[in-house]
Amino acid sequence: MNSIRLRPLSRLFLALFLTFAAVGQSSAQDVGAAPAVSKEGVTPGATAGATPATAAAPAAGGGDAAAIAAGDALFKGNCAQCHAVNDVVVGPALAGITKRRPMSWIIPWVKNSSKLVASGDEYAVKLFNQYQKQQMPSFQLSDQEITSIVAWVTSQEGQSAGAPGAATNIKPADGAETPGTGAAGAEDGKYMNVLLIVLVVVLIVLVVTLVIIANIMKDVLRGRKDLDGRDVEVVEQRFDLSKIYNSTAVRAIVGIVFVLAVLYESIQGAMGVGLTQGYQPTQPIAFSHKLHAGEHQINCAYCHTSVYKSKSANIPSANICMNCHSQIKTESPEIKKIYRAIERKQPIQWVRIHNLPDLAYFNHSQHTQVGGLECQTCHGPIQNMEVVYQYSPLTMGWCINCHRETPLNTKGNAYYDNLVKLHDTKNGAVPFTVSSNGGTECSKCHY
């Protein structure tokens, strides 16, 4: 009777389990297609070991540190789209610029290059022709700002000759994990696997041997005639499955375990409602970050122009694609889609991957320019993504967690000087994190 009653109940459980599993699955759309993604998100800096760092330490010997720091920001905000220090991007590599041209030439050039070209300056005209007559836009920078950019460029010269692009320095995030130790870790893992396999094999052999010995023993005992009834009973004992099946304790344990599992799954499913971690929609153009950011090492800010200065990182407009693709790979069907968009004056409608609700205010420049975070901290190994997916969960808990743990990037920023002093005198033992400066208050993100 029991078993009959149990059957529909167990079916129900099974149905429930499947339902929740399905909900959990569907909430993370296209998860199946996406590579396996860490549920926990990332701690800042964890991926930095494998990622190129754009911010390089200033050269020890070079110039005024403050000017160089200012130049760093200015370079990223204004120049990095077209220039790298040691490599030709759109414009020439800037290494050695001070040796090639005097400051009295560089300043007017930056401010208004076309004027200089028009004036017939020999070098300017040559440069203009050399780079496909592409005009360098004029910049509203002060003389001092240009000087500091040049100072920063000088400080970067030759730091990593050979490694192309602005993404030159492989810099460990916190010194905890270097590529070397990472490799060693992988080696260790391999040995462990071998060891485990060996162990399992040995155990299996052991079990088989024991079973064989036991059977031989049983046979020997059966052959003996001097056994009494109780001994025979022991020897002939059979394992009775129905007993376990009818045991209340076993049933109760199985039931509880099952209920707990269902409960856990359903809570997990419910928590995942609205979460789109791993979301990897198909885009109208098969743009590969792996190719552009990974293999060709194009700086993120080259396309996402306002990532260092604005709330929005800016999805690049078609004319930015055209900077290169007016000449490169013009026959590709994917590139032709861009040409078509321009011809028809229909902007490309990308599918938005990272969606924050309207009630949360997020500003890229706060995190990149001020906080000094890498793009990969939140966006994951973007340089390895053929198709971009949402790497981080983008939940409030994830934001808050990072704000609690991350030390403020206060170095060289006069905004924080007094705050750091105040913190050090009062609470020096604890790191000065974002949250200890009010970074977890409601109105920092919700207004």
Partner: protein, 1017 residues
């Protein structure tokens, strides 16, 4: 030594009516009926079942919604303009002038959309100030009531309708009509201060020689122009130490209020270094914004004004005709005359009258004084309308002498007193063309509608005062298929030049030198020095003898004074919901006009507020509700213009009645007063007032005021500080507290509001609304007390009785007298917003921690956490929290009033950095936290501390008189820190100090320049 008058917030409070008492005790007027919000028609349906149904549906919806995340698109520019970065605001200098007040503005654009107008600090005229109307003008850009294409009227008679027409076809037909025109051609417009536009019109007139350009102003100054030989004097109130105004509302609506308010306030601000103030006398019928700020205000009937001016002339200059004006025993006019004579060149008399005779006498008085505040050599151009010429044109139209009439932003059918004649005259004009932005009362009568761009889509230039030029530049590509009016006129005149090039050519003569450089600078700054106007003729001495005879005698019956409101103005912007919902500074009424009657008249006739009266004058009558207005002159009533629009759009529909037909003509000018008869009707029409919604707990002074004499004697005694009793004797309230104090390490944001500088103009209210996406709720919801303004301006009237009369008159009688209204009350304005208390009562009662305190002193409101218990609003002593009773952006009940949140067109005005709040959550002033965050971020990016003045709230920024100072109180060098240090113990006080909530907003005691004997408390 504290003067302690009893203030009351409104007539209801004085009367202590049962309704008021009921409402005074409840924060929220009524509970929301379920029917209203869910649309259940059957009243018998049990709410429990509704609840279950909704629950069931809710769960199902949530489950379904969770299965599929909607796909959102990210659409970048195809070719990104270099200067536009998504997320970064760009500012462009421009100019606001639509025939009323002039404002030089900065247009804040985000992703190419103008979202807010701010004052242009570069302007020497408006100096960074901005009127409420100019603040709201950005919304009119996205007004769905605008005509979106060219149109030609098809059909005849009543059935005639405008049909969309092709641009070329319209041009073709108009050109043909102009070529074959017989009779005169008239271009009708309000005052045009654009030199280049005038050149365009002149060019048009040269092409069609029988063209006449007729300008008329709705609130005309043609009397003032005639008294000064066709020149409008420029006034400088900062040069006047004695100001006598006869009905000129120069702080609210007269000529150039923002400019005058700034000048006026420089002589009104006091500090321990400057203990002088100008003396301001105001003689007027209705209680105006300027009258509310006067030191001495005298209520006179409209017809007494001329005689009062004559009397002043006799007292100051002498030798005039005998005046029949009689004064009471205090003799303010004699006192004013005495002071004027002593002040000499620093005296100033102004009059809002449009009677040339009155203005002639005013001019003569100023000349006799040698007033330095009046400048006729570099005059103002802000009013050029000529009433006589407009009357002639209307007569000519009716006589069939006009062949073509072009209306350029002119709507005389609605806003000219002879609107009916304009309408009948239009039928006799062969070709009628409207350049107005919509098919308004006049435009709908015209055959051709050629809509003009909005000013934010146009190039233009302006010269409000001789020598002060400014430019308007487009801040957005034209939204609709419209064409700039100047381009239309040029096209029809056969000039192929675009107006932009035309404008540049004109400016070449003005700027000279390196033109491109000077032009770029002028476009960037929005303003330039230089003039495009010819030097004015020397003004002959006014003919006073003729004026003596022309001054009208004092009338007997009930008189009507027609005035202009600070918000709606002359009605051009009536379709702007922000302005409709902006409470009148004095009456606090929104959404419509009314008959303001003095209390005695209402009592005598047993009229109650909201009773509809029929007001009749000269055979025309209108029906409007009664509003009892303290300060209204005896035997007079006041009605505002600008209401009663029929074809302005959804918002302006059914809003009041048009009073202009009741105006009269005298001495060839429109006189904005008349003798009227009032008849009580059985109808009732409630007035949507915001004034008694929020009773401040009747415990201790909320507003403080004192006199200049007292301030000079001892500034330490002008403010009464409350103390509480402790075992150690009386102490400051903040010495005893249950709560721990916050430690502010980084910033501590604070605000100081100088009640002496606040004139109550309401600019901050609209500025806040634009910045923070505050919803408009409409008339019925204002009546239900659910308006959403984060910042309100409380207006307190005074009563003449004092507690000091206890001994002489007895306590009971004194209390009764204190409830009795003063016929001519003193007025105080107090901007009231979230006080960002350090010990905030709202924070402790929130069950879900949706309102919390920040480490920078802000009282944070987190919408996404709020569940709408409204405990916080109940616990707020200042009543500044607002609850979202509806989803104002989707509930069709609000579509007509809050339409800009409904359509994609209107939503372009929303500030993308501020959440649009959902139904069921609380909201309130955030101290413009989005601006604070942005300012801090900019500083961090540049690796420095924020500079003082870099981060300002929207209200502080828009204040034309700098009454509001916002800043970081932790920075010892900031303006606010210095101000608070200086005023501590003198004028600085906190509202409701004794409850020890420790607000971050400090008020400064108002100082009046009165000589009244100081009453001892």
């Amino acid at each position: 030594m504290q003067e302690s008058p009893k203030y009351w917030k409104g007539i209801e409070e004085l009367e202590n009516s049962p309704e008021f008492v009921k409402n005074a005790l409840t924060e929220f007027a009524d509970f929301l009926p379920v029917k209203d919000s869910h649309g259940t028609s059957d009243a018998t349906v049990a709410p429990r079942r509704d609840f279950l149904k909704l629950m069931g549906f809710g769960i199902a919806a949530a489950t379904l919604a969770s299965c599929e995340t909607p796909i959102k698109k990210a659409i970048p520019y195809l070719n990104k303009p270099e200067e536009v970065d998504p997320g970064i605001a760009n500012y462009y200098a421009s100019t606001y002038f639509t025939g009323e007040d002039y404002n030089s503005v900065l247009v804040k654009t985000r992703e190419g959309r103008p979202i807010k107008l701010e004052g242009n600090p570069e302007s020497p005229v408006t100096r960074g100030g901005l009127s409420a109307r100019a603040q709201a003008a950005v919304l009119s850009l996205y007004d769905g009531g605008r005509l979106q294409h060219f149109a030609i009227k098809k059909g005849t008679g009543e059935k005639a309708e405008h049909a969309k027409a092709d641009k070329d076809q319209v041009d073709q037909e108009i050109r043909t009509a102009l070529a074959s025109n017989t009779g005169r051609i008239a271009i009708v417009s309000p005052t045009i201060i654009s030199p280049s536009t005038k050149k365009v019109i002149a060019e048009f007139a040269a092409r069609f020689p029988n063209t006449e350009h007729v300008m008329y102003d709705v609130n005309s100054a043609s009397g003032l122009l005639r008294a000064n030989g066709g020149v409008l004097p420029a006034y400088d109130f900062s040069k006047a130490s004695v100001i006598v105004s006869f009905g000129a509302d120069f702080l609210g609506t007269w000529l150039s209020p923002v400019e005058y308010a700034q000048q006026y306030i420089t002589n009104r601000k006091v500090s321990s270094e400057k203990k002088t103030m100008s003396k301001h006398y105001q003689f007027e019928s209705g209680l105006s914004l300027t009258g509310s700020n006067a030191d001495v205000r005298v209520a006179i009937k409209p017809s007494q004004e001329g005689q009062a001016v004559l009397k002043l002339y006799n007292l100051v200059v002498g030798g005039g005709a005998t005046s029949t004006y009689e004064e009471g025993k205090t003799q303010p006019l004699a006192e004013a005359a005495d002071r004027l004579r002593k002040a000499g060149s620093s005296g100033l008399v102004v009059s809002g009258s449009n009677d040339p005779a009155v203005q002639t006498l005013v001019t003569a008085i100023n000349r006799a004084l040698g007033s330095a505040a009046v400048d006729v050599a570099n005059p103002s151009f802000i009013r050029q309308g000529d009433d006589a010429r407009m009357s002639t044109l209307i007569a000519d139209m009716n006589a069939g002498r006009v062949g073509t009439v072009i209306f350029y932003h002119a709507n005389p059918v609605f806003n000219h007193p002879m609107g009916e004649q304009v309408l009948s005259g239009l039928k006799k004009v062969k070709t009628t063309i409207s350049l107005n932005d919509r098919l308004d009362e006049t435009g709908s009568q015209c055959t051709y509608a050629v809509p003009d761009h909005h000013f934010l889509e146009s190039w233009n230039d302006f010269e409000p005062k001789r020598g002060f030029l400014s430019l308007a530049q487009p801040a957005i590509t034209p939204l609709f298929a419209t064409r700039q009016a100047q381009d239309s006129l040029l096209t029809w005149a056969g000039n192929p030049t675009s107006y932009y090039n035309y404008l540049r050519t004109q400016w070449q003569g003005v700027l000279g030198g390196d033109f491109q450089k000077a032009w770029d600078k002028a476009v960037h700054d929005g303003v330039a020095r230089g003039t495009a106007m010819p030097a004015p003729l020397a003004v002959a001495a006014p003919d006073v003898n003729a004026a003596f005879g022309a001054i009208s005698p004092i009338g007997t019956g009930v008189e009507l004074a027609i005035y202009e409101k600070v918000g709606i103005g002359n009605g051009t912007h009536a379709n702007n919901p922000w302005l409709q919902e902006l409470p009148d500074p004095v009456s606090k009424a929104t959404w419509g006009n009314y008959v303001a009657v003095p209390r005695a008249m209402a009592e005598k006739n047993k009229w109650e507020q909201g009773d509809v009266l029929e007001v009749t004058a000269g055979g025309k009558s209108i029906k409007l509700p009664v509003l009892i207005q303290p300060g209204q002159a005896a035997d007079s009533v006041s009605i505002a213009i600008g209401y009663g629009r029929t074809k302005a759009g959804k918002v302006a529909q059914d809003c009041g009645a048009n009073v202009l037909p009741l105006a009269t003509m005298r001495n060839g000018a429109i006189i904005y007063s008349n003798t009227v008869t009032l008849k009580h009707t059985e109808e009732k029409s409630p007035i949507a007032q915001t004034q008694t919604h929020h009773t401040i707990m009747d415990r201790k002074p909320v507003v403080q005021e004192s006199t200049l004499a007292q301030y000079i004697a001892n500034p330490k005694e002008v403010t009464e500080y409350e103390t509480i009793s402790t075992p150690e004797g009386p102490q400051k309230p903040n010495k005893v507290s249950l709560w721990q104090d916050y430690e502010y390490k980084n910033h501590h944001w604070g605000m100081a509001i100088d009640l002496n500088s606040c004139i109550g103009c309401g600019s901050c209210v609209v500025g806040c609304q634009a910045e923070n996406n505050v919803a408009v709720v409409g008339k019925q919801e204002v009546i239900n007390r659910r308006e959403m303004h984060w910042l309100r301006i409380d207006r307190y009237y005074s009563s003449d009785a004092h507690k000091t009369d206890f001994e002489t008159k007895g306590k009971l009688d004194t209390y009764e007298a204190m409830e009795h209204p003063s016929d001519n009350p003193k007025v105080i304005f107090q901007p009231m917003l979230c006080q960002h208390c350090n010990h905030a009562p709202c924070e402790t009662v929130c069950p879900v921690l949706a309102t919390t305190h920040s480490s920078e002193g802000l009282n944070q409101m987190t919408y996404n956490r709020c569940v709408g218990t409204r405990y916080c609003a109940n616990n707020c002593p200042y009543k500044v929290r607002r609850f979202n009773w509806f989803s104002y952006y989707t509930n069709e009940k609000f579509e007509s009033v809050n339409g800009h949140m409904f359509t994609d067109l209107g939503r372009m005005v929303l500030n993308p950095d501020v959440t649009v709040r959902a139904r069921g959550v609380m909201e309130k002033c955030s101290f413009c936290v989005q601006r604070i965050q942005l300012g801090k971020l900019e500083a961090k990016k540049q690796k420095r501390r924020p500079q003082d003045g870099e981060i300002v709230s929207a209200c502080a920024q828009s204040c034309p008189t700098q009454a509001i100072v916002f800043g970081d109180m932790r920075d010892p060098e900031s303006r606010i820190s210095k101000l608070l240090r200086r005023e501590d113990g003198e004028r600085a006080f906190h509202v409701l100090d004794s409850i020890n909530v420790q607000p971050n907003i400090t008020y400064l005691t108002k100082i009046r320049n009165t000589d009244e004997a100081v009453r001892n408390a």
